[in-house]
Symmetry: C2
Subunit: 145 residues, 2 copies
Amino acid sequence: MTAPAGCPLCEGPGGRLLVQGARWRLVHADEPGFPAFYRVVWQEHVREFSALAPADRAECLEVVVAVEQALLRHLRPAKVNLASLGNAVPHLHWHVIARFDWDSHFPGAVWAQPLRTADRERIAGLSALLPSLEADLVSRLQPPA
Amino acid sequence: MTAPAGCPLCEGPGGRLLVQGARWRLVHADEPGFPAFYRVVWQEHVREFSALAPADRAECLEVVVAVEQALLRHLRPAKVNLASLGNAVPHLHWHVIARFDWDSHFPGAVWAQPLRTADRERIAGLSALLPSLEADLVSRLQPPA
């Protein structure tokens, strides 16, 4: 599919780039209040997950799973949230988000109304764990040079 | 994993049951304002998608994909939303939701604040398409007797 003009995931990475694969990339989402929020973005402009060939779906989901497992290992979250929505930006991307019982929206979705103010100290503590999490992710997902 | 007491997806179907597989079930979610909202529920009480063995993950996702494709074929939605959140009910289930530019929350997530009042006429029109959609889904997903 040709990239439509103005698609932010065709024109930019969609976050801080961690791993650039041939068919997908992994970015840190930079969403305030949610330090452990990553996105797996399909490189080609595809609207729906089911439009991918079965082997591509499997490859995409195994990256999502690798990110989820890294979040669980490094951060011990209350829950990991996975979502492919794309209503505003219909270019296939998976949100992979570590959730904590103290975060501003838990147990609501990150797209819901906040339930409490963000806890800056805990957010800073979580942010401090990201370099080792990301080094682990890069070493596991980086394609061979 | 042993089913914890009080898990609503261990104790009930979690919606109107359409297909009962050995390892998953498909239910209609009965969420007001969103007639085309389905859930693929893993039968065993598992918290995170990545806790499934790779073959089980593939089986689960192929059901999700089959539902997405049926929604696209029968309803021509603006977008399909896929999500495995489970913050409130940490028993693995995938939401598969057909979204329309006229629905109460579009382009926001269904968990966000509504952006407009629900359009009863269009909701009724959509609901009228569900019997043939569901007959198609049942015929494709029903395990052999």
